[in-house]
């Protein structure tokens, strides 16, 4: 299905683990270093450099854009490294996260409690994904290089729902279907 940011509770209720989603609109990039800074600002009660309510954060550190390109290759990074930071952002109204790999129980609980969604993009399909990114602009922490916060405009960004508000987890369900071996 097609989905356009910002997301509200009605959008989130429609999503179930395993759904294929094509995402459109504005999303923000942040990974390890940027998350640490955002949480530091929240702890100090200071203003964040990006809007959070209804927004989607993409865990990515893109490659530099070649001349004439909007952005370089831009696939997802592994999400668990953001797990300690994520519940605080969801509590502030963050609606979606895009990454790869399983989340902590704390993140999954926050997704259910505050109505959010965790999507996976295909790790290593970074050149393909970059074709869905139509605009990119660094808006905070340029000194972090690939870890700076960027505002992206995306069109038909191909995603799959991993964790939904109903407590389903595609990583568990998908693997259970094909598991033939207990260690």
């Amino acid at each position: 299905m097609e989905l356009t940011t910002p997301l509200n509770d009605e959008d989130i209720k429609k999503l179930h683990a395993g759904d294929k989603v094509y995402l459109n609109g504005t999303i923000y990039t942040a990974r390890d270093a940027a998350h640490a800074r955002l949480i530091d600002l929240i702890d100090k009660g200071e203003k964040l450099p990006i809007p959070i309510k209804g927004q989607v954060i993409y865990y990515v550190g893109p490659a530099p854009a070649k001349p004439g390109h909007v952005i370089g290759s831009a696939g997802p990074t592994t999400s668990y490294r953001m797990d300690d930071f994520t519940p605080a952002l969801i509590k502030l109204g963050l609606k979606g996260m895009i990454g790869k790999g399983a989340r902590s129980q704390g993140v999954k609980d926050s997704i259910v409690e505050y109505k959010a969604v965790y999507f996976a993009a295909v790790g290593g399909a970074a050149a393909l994904i970059s074709q869905s990114i139509k605009k990119a602009q660094v808006i905070a922490y340029p000194e972090l290089g690939p870890e700076a916060i960027r505002r992206l405009e995306v069109e038909s960004f191909p995603l799959i729902v991993i964790n939904d508000i109903y407590g389903s987890n595609l990583y568990n369900d998908g693997v259970a279907e094909y598991n033939q071996f207990e260690i």
Partner: protein
């Protein structure tokens, strides 16, 4: 270019011809290699991905394989990195004992990494300190492993390694009595716990034997082997096949979404070890299994 080392420096007065390789030539070669390997996968890896797509039973898994193949085609045609994580550069050097290098080879290599990552629009993914986390902004330094071999050639293998799969790798000192079953069990548990994190379909490099650090190096070297080779030791060749089959029965599948093709290959390199020890290292690589080499 060959030249004479003055005989007065040679204790037994023998005349020895050395082959000179210039640092500049090494820098250029490394710059070209890092770019090329980030844009194009080796043919054996591409073939393993194509085969994986045929064998995959899950429709979602097949679709992931299709996207990976399309991605790799776009990256090659547009000369852009296959993955945005263009890695920490690992380099294996085999330096012939009759090679004379006209300067600091490590500096020459890092100059090549710097040039290749800048000119090739590759991501700079290295921080100068494990705690200060300040990006070095040029992807240096590379991790360089050096071996002296006989001859007049210099072989440079470059293997940029992404963080996602490297983070899922381990070294464990098993007991000799743990044996083959102990190694198998450790590999399966490691792959299962890694799940979707290292971007399956993965390639598993395993080092068994040696010392603590030798096992890790064996595992990394195992990842440099062609995916379609077979181990010269028949016991180990069978073990590689057994572990591959068991991993693929775990059901993790492409991107951890469920399926029959979790790993494309398992490669095991071994070395003699202490009577008390059974060191095992497991180095996981993602499907973007980059490595490339040149012989100067």
């Amino acid at each position: 270019m060959y030249f004479l080392i003055a005989s007065k420096f040679i204790s037994n007065e023998k005349v020895i011809f050395m082959r000179e390789i210039k640092c500049l030539e090494i820098t250029e070669a490394v710059a070209d290699l890092v770019k090329d390997t980030n844009y194009h996968l080796p043919e054996d890896v591409m073939e393993a991905i194509r085969l994986g797509k045929e064998k995959e039973k899950s429709p979602v898994g097949k679709e992931i394989f299709r996207q990976i193949l399309e991605n790799n085609k776009i990256a090659g045609e547009k000369e852009m990195p296959i993955c945005q994580d263009t890695g920490l550069v690992v380099i294996f050097l085999e330096i012939g004992n009759q090679v004379f290098i006209d300067g600091d080879i490590y500096q020459a290599i890092n100059d090549g990494v710097r040039k290749g990552y800048k000119d090739g629009y590759l991501r700079k993914s290295v921080v100068e300190g494990p705690f200060n986390r300040i990006n070095t902004a040029d992807n240096t330094p590379a991790v360089i492993h050096t071996k002296i071999v006989s001859g007049k050639k210099l072989k440079i293998t470059v293997a940029p390694k992404g963080g996602g799969s490297e983070n899922m790798s381990i070294v464990k000192m098993l007991k000799p009595s743990d044996g083959i079953e102990g190694v198998k069990n450790l590999v399966l548990k490691t792959v299962q716990e890694a799940g979707a994190n290292p971007c399956p379909p993965i390639i598993v490099g395993i080092g068994v034997g040696g010392s603590f650090e030798k096992a890790a190096l064996l595992a990394k070297e195992a990842l440099m082997r062609p995916l379609d080779d077979s181990n010269t030791d028949s016991t180990i060749a069978i073990l590689e096949q057994d572990i591959l089959e068991d991993i693929n029965r775990l059901g993790i599948g492409p991107q951890g979404l469920g399926g029959t093709q979790t790993a494309l290959a398992v490669k095991i390199n071994t070395f003699p070890c202490h009577i008390a020890s059974l060191p095992v290292a497991i180095n996981i690589n993602c499907h973007v299994a980059r490595h490339n080499e040149i012989v100067l």
